[in-house]
Each structure stands twice: as C-alpha cells, then as structure tokens.
C-alpha cells in the first residue's frame, strides 16, 4: 500500500461514532449556540448587587450557572471590573495559595493530516520543515530540559498523524520519564508529562493512562459550530466538532482523571467562548463529578505563511484578555489556569501580577528539537506559531520572586492519589492550597540549589523564607516540623520529597 493510502486508511479508522453519541443528550451536544447568545442578551445590565452576589458565590468555590457568567461578561462599569479582578485574585489565592507552577512545552513532531486555517503546521503549508523526533532525540531534549534548565513538568505537543499516533506518544512518555540527569546538588528528572494531542478513542486513552500521563489537554479551539466548521476544512479529521468536544469525556471514562480544556481566542467572539468553556466544565462535572484540571486561553499569534491570523476580526485586545481570564477564574473557581509564553513579557507580567493564574511556561522553545539544538532565534518555518516571551526560566523565576510569587515545581498530587474526585474535593474546600504551599517551598529549594543564577538565588531566598514563615502560622506544628525536616534533607542533596 502507498503512503497516501495508508494515511487515508488510518484517517478513516480514527473516529468512533459510538464514542460521541453515547455522551449526547437527546442527540444533541451540550453547546447550544443560540442559547449562549440568549443568555448573554438576557443578562445585560445586571445590578451591581447581583454581580457582587455572583462574586461571593465564586469565592465559595462553586461553579457558576451560565446566567451568572453571562452577567459578569456584560459588566460595563470599570470599578465593578476592578472588583471582579480582585475577587479573581482572592479565589486563586484561596485555592492555590501564592505559588505559580512552571512547565515547558516539548514539540515532538509537526506532521499533520489536518488543514486548520490558523495553524502553521497545517497539511498544505509547504514552507514548514517537517520533522518527527526520534526517541534518542527526545532523550536529548529531556536531558536539556531536566538537567540544564531544571524543569520537572512538560507538556508534549504534536500534530495529528499516523506516524505520531498513540504508540509513538506512549513510547515518548516512557522515554521522557526514564531520563535522569546529575545536577549541581542532586539530579534532574521530569516528574509529570502532560499531553496536548489530538482527540483519541477510549482504547487509545487507556494506553496513555497505562504509561502515567499527567493531564490530557485538548483545546476545542472554538466552540462556535459554524466557525469551527469554517476553520477546520471539510474532509479533514479535525472537521468533526463532536469527536473533539467529547474527547475529555472519553479520557475520563478511560480513567485519565486530569483533563485540560482551552480555546484559541481570536477565532470567534471571546464572550461566547468563555460561556462555552463553562458549559463544557459543567457537563464534565455533571457526568463524571470531575471538572477540568486546567483551562488554557491562548490568543492567535502569527505563524509562517498563515494570513488567516492577520485577517481575523475576533482578535482579543489586551484589556479584554484580562477580563476573560478573570471571568473564567470566577466561573470555574477550582480550575488551574495556564498563561503561556505565546504572550509577550509585558502582558504576562500584568496578568501574573493580577494574581489570577496558576501555571506558566518559561525557557520556551517550540521548534522541533529546539532545546538540544540550542538555537536562540525563533525559526517560524519549524514552529507552529511565534512565541511572545522567549525569556529563560531563570529570568522568569526571578521576576516572579520579585513580584512576591514562589515558583513551584510540584508534581506531587498525581503521584499520591490527589487526582480525580479527591483533588476536586481538596480544591473546592481550599485544602489543596496548603499542599501547594508546602510543596512549592520544597521544590523551589531543589531548583534554587541545582539551577539558579546567583541573582535569582538571592531573590528566591527572600521569597522562600517568607513562605516558610507563613506556613509556620498556617499548618499544625507536626506538619511544620515535617516541612523543616524535608527542607534540610533537600539542602543536603536528597530530591523529590513531598507532601
């Protein structure tokens, strides 16, 4: 059989209709475009008192109703928006405390059978240099990420293609987890690998589960049915809206109990998309008792030979970007929220300072093989898009410390059963924040000793002492004694101790 025929036959085997319809209610999916617009219209001009009631509900870590999110999205008064931002900050602090988790994306391959109008990796974009990393190359990339930069958490990313389907991904995960690199005082290792990949069947998702996947992250890109159909051309796998929409349902059914949602903001109206993210979260909660582990909100960025991006009429301004992040924070208050290096440094600085987000990436290279190649300039022909903030992890950690945040490299939760319904309970009761704080101190200590520059170490020492002082007041004496014992052991070169 020729390569083209093999590819065609693979494409035809991917989508399992029965793994879509089984989740639908009366043959319909949970995104009703008309209903969303109606809710947005019906909740214009809410009284400030109602908006404040909604804020209070969010602060008690309850998922909002669609009407409530619609009311927030319709707020016009700048002073009320300031109150919303402040509430978003308080929610994040209550659920996750003062830490920001960092990670790195690792692009494994850019072969893709899809042809999405906004994507640099689309099938017909012939200016892109196509490449799939070998497992030896993945090992080399991991050695740089874990041994030289100091990351503990990765998200692997790749196009949809038979060469990089589930068998390749499972072997890639095993390869990454097997790498252990000596460092100044201990050793470096990737402890959690999240996966950003195409929608899969339950059978394939079980294979990812078997090799210890972290979060399974799939972005719907746009929830608006018509726009979705337009930007994902007919005849491609990604054209199937519902196969994508229900992939998190399939993941949860397969036992992968951390799933990540997201929208590519700029494809359609941002208010509609925020409403849809809420509907998606609520459907997962309703059917599985588990909502999204994270929500991401990337904005369209320039990509090689991709004019669609410049032409989009739905681009989100910086001002609206901050608003949409705040409304997501209030609508799904327990969820982790990821701001990436797609955004330029000044935007990241402002959003991080507002205290709403929980995770960010740094030392980001999105070219295939770009970490071990050590190129410093961005090369669009081997990237999916152009990143806005290429600063090193050391610089980002230092800036976070100067802003009063502790960088966390914690990956403890999913290695001791704080997953699924258990993590949901701990998040909703505000208890997970204690673990976040304890493990941030321990993992930050490791990173400062193994990887920090002198300047970053100085800033880091100040924040770590401040966190330890806060913990002394916050946790029972026995827990605090345990923290100090673990802290000393880490200073002496032990690694990977956690609560």
């Amino acid at each position: 059989m020729t390569t083209a025929l093999l590819e065609k036959s693979w494409i035809e085997s991917v989508i399992k209709e029965e793994e879509i319809t089984k989740y639908m209610d009366n043959g319909k999916d949970f995104i009703n475009d008309e209903e969303i617009w109606e809710k947005l219209k019906n909740n214009e001009n809410s009284e400030p008192s109602r908006v404040r009631e909604i804020m209070a509900k969010s602060l008690s870590i309850e998922t909002l109703e669609p009407d409530e999110t619609a009311a927030l999205l319709n707020v016009k008064d700048p002073e009320l928006w300031e109150e919303i931002f402040e509430t978003a900050r308080q929610i994040k602090k209550k659920v996750y405390d003062n830490r920001i988790v960092t990670f790195a994306p690792l692009y494994l391959g850019n072969l893709c059978v899809n042809n999405c109008l906004y994507c640099g990796f689309r099938r017909d974009n012939h200016v892109i240099k196509r490449r799939v990393l070998t497992f030896e190359e993945i090992e080399r990339e991991t050695e740089v990420l874990a041994g030289q930069i100091g990351h503990k958490r990765l998200i692997i990313s790749l196009g949809e293609h038979p060469r990089t389907s589930v068998h390749y991904i499972t072997k890639a995960l095993e390869t990454i987890y097997s790498v252990k690199v000596p460092t100044k005082r201990g050793y470096g290792q990737i402890r959690r690998v999240n996966v950003n990949a195409a929608p899969m069947s339950i059978e394939d998702l079980k294979k990812l589960k078997e090799v210890g996947i972290g979060t399974y992250q799939v972005f719907q890109e746009t929830y608006h049915h018509e726009t979705y159909a337009n930007v994902h051309p007919e005849g491609t796998l990604k054209h199937n809206y519902q196969w994508r929409l229900y992939c998190h349902h399939r993941a949860l059914e397969a036992g992968v109990d951390d799933v990540g949602l997201g929208v590519l903001f700029g494809l359609y109206d941002w208010r509609f998309e925020v409403m849809a993210l809420l509907y998606h979260s609520r459907d997962l909660e309703k059917k599985f008792g588990i909502g999204p582990h994270t929500i991401s909100f990337p904005r369209l960025e320039p990509a090689a030979n991709t004019p669609f991006i410049q032409e989009s009429k739905y681009k989100v301004s910086d001002e609206d970007f901050k608003k949409l992040i705040a409304v997501i924070r209030l609508s799904v208050p327990y969820t982790g929220m990821i701001l990436t290096a797609r955004e330029p440094a000044h935007v990241r600085r402002e959003i991080i300072a507002s205290g709403m987000i929980t995770q960010t990436d740094a030392s980001t290279r999105i070219g295939i093989g770009a970490y071990s190649d050590r190129y410093t300039e961005q090369e669009l022909e081997r990237q999916q898009f152009q990143i806005g903030d290429p600063r090193s992890l050391d610089e980002v950690v230092r800036e976070l410390a100067e802003m009063g945040y502790i960088t966390s490299f914690c990956t403890a939760g999913y290695r001791c059963g704080r997953t699924g319904e258990r993590i949901m309970t701990l998040l909703k009761t505000g208890k997970e924040g204690i673990f976040c704080k304890l493990n941030a101190v321990l993992t930050f200590r490791e990173w400062l000793d193994d990887f920090a520059s002198e300047q970053t170490k100085a800033a880091g020492e100040r924040i770590i002492q401040q966190e330890i002082e806060e913990l002394k007041e916050k946790v029972p004496p026995k827990v605090f004694d345990n923290l100090l014992e673990y802290y000393r052991r880490i200073q002496n070169g032990e690694r990977d101790l956690y609560f």
Binding site: Y23, L173, E174, Y177, R191, R192, I202, K206, K209, E210, V211, G212, I213, G214, H249, L252, E253, A254, G255, D257, K287, F288, Y414, R415, C416, G417, R418, T419, G420, E421, R422, I423, T425, L426, K431, I434, F435, L438, V475, P476, K478, V479, N482, Y486, L497, Y498, F499
Partner: protein, 91 residues
C-alpha cells in the same frame, strides 16, 4: 456515567467501607490508588487529608494504599491482608 477503569463498583464500595472503618476506629484517613507509571490515580477512600507527607504501601503491581497517619492504625497488617484478599477476588 461510570469510568471505564477496570475496577468494579462493588470493589470501590468495599474499599470505601474499609476506609470508613479505619476512620471510625482510629481517626485516620486512608485512600486507595491505581498505579500507572508515575501516576497514582485515586480510586476510593477518604478525600480529606491531614497535610502530613503521604506514605504509599504497595499491595501489588497495580494497587496501593496511601495514608499520612499510618502510626495511628494499629491493625495495619490485618487491613493490608484484607485489601489484598479483596483485590485477589477481582482477578
């Protein structure tokens, strides 16, 4: 909707009963996990926590019990045996 993981509702129910017994008798939290590479996925047991470091006791290649209050549980060995026998019945 149920998860498609290979754990029956009956087993989950029995594991929850054991966790409740331990909580009632010793005031300690335990929870059960399925081991998948580095991932230890929660399958049953308590959702509360005492914030102490978790100690994982492996039952077999697939399952483990986690607690941060093992020192409170005087019948640890008996409980481990009971759970192992329950898991054996599932094969």
């Amino acid at each position: 909707m149920e998860k498609g993981i290979c754990i029956s509702n009956d087993l989950t129910k029995k594991l929850n009963e054991i966790a409740d017994f331990v909580k009632q008798k010793y005031g300690a939290h335990i929870w059960f996990v399925e081991i998948l590479g580095k991932r230890h996925s929660y399958i049953a047991g308590h959702r509360e926590d005492s914030f102490l470091p978790p100690e994982v006791v492996y039952l077999n290649e697939r399952y483990a019990i986690v607690s941060n209050e093992w020192e409170k549980i005087h019948e640890k060995d008996e409980i481990l045996l009971k759970v192992k026998s329950l898991l054996g019945e599932q094969k």
